[in-house]
């Protein structure tokens, strides 16, 4: 599954650590999701959507 995390993070000028602290996860988690090596669970995907103020389908795509 692909995602727009890096792009969305860059738009807001957030580091991986910034996003991680907002999500309550480790920086490695953000890195793993961002690089597509780890698919987040639905609760984490919802948290990501909430942090960015977007719908899940506008962050993740196939």
């Amino acid at each position: 599954m692909k995602n727009r995390l890096r792009e969305l993070r860059a738009e807001r000028n957030w580091s991986q650590a910034d996003l991680a602290s907002q999500l309550g996860v480790s920086r490695q988690s953000v890195n793993a999701v961002e690089t597509g090596r780890f698919d987040p669970s639905l609760p984490l995907a919802f948290r990501l959507a909430k942090v960015f103020g977007l719908a899940i389908e506008s962050i993740f795509y196939e």
Binding site: A20, V25, S26, N31
Partner: protein
């Protein structure tokens, strides 16, 4: 919340409990009489109990005691995995545990063959524990490094 440099209170508690489990492994190891055992040093009578002439109930009790560290490690892992809020770290820990099991089984198989070939007694229980803890720790670090 970097898992690498600073551990969360939950992770610190888990590491401390793992240390206790490692100590318990040494203390409850009755598989090799020649091996140093602090519990036998404290209570020399135990050394006289663990002999080939021990009664069946005593032998079964000693065998049951040696299971304690394994049960404790399983409990620590379960407790940690159910409390860890970071699902990615949970996945890494699960994979590290699987590697630890694999390394332990390989070490056990190789040692068992060598013991059989050379007719040597070896403290397998302690070896298993060492392999499990070291294998798990190294596997976790390697997995974590791969996602740095």
């Amino acid at each position: 919340m970097s898992f690498c440099r600073k551990m969360t209170p939950l992770q610190q508690r888990t590491m401390r409990l793992m240390g206790v489990a490692m100590l318990l492994t040494v203390v409850t190891n009755f598989s090799t009489p020649g091996l140093a055992n602090p519990l036998v040093d404290l209570f020399p009578a135990l050394g006289r109990i663990v002999t080939p002439h021990a009664s069946v109930p005593v032998a079964m009790l000693m065998a049951a005691i040696s299971v304690l560290p394994i049960v404790m490690v399983a409990w620590i892992a379960w407790r940690y995995l159910s409390a860890e809020p970071d699902e990615f770290v949970r996945a890494l820990v699960m994979r590290a545990l699987l590697w630890a099991f694999a390394v332990t089984m390989v070490g056990n198989a190789v040692t068992a063959v060598l013991m059989n070939v050379y007719h040597l007694a070896f403290p397998l229980t302690v070896l298993d524990a060492d392999l499990f803890f070291i294998g798990g720790g190294v596997a976790f670090r390697v997995l974590q490094w791969s996602y740095r």
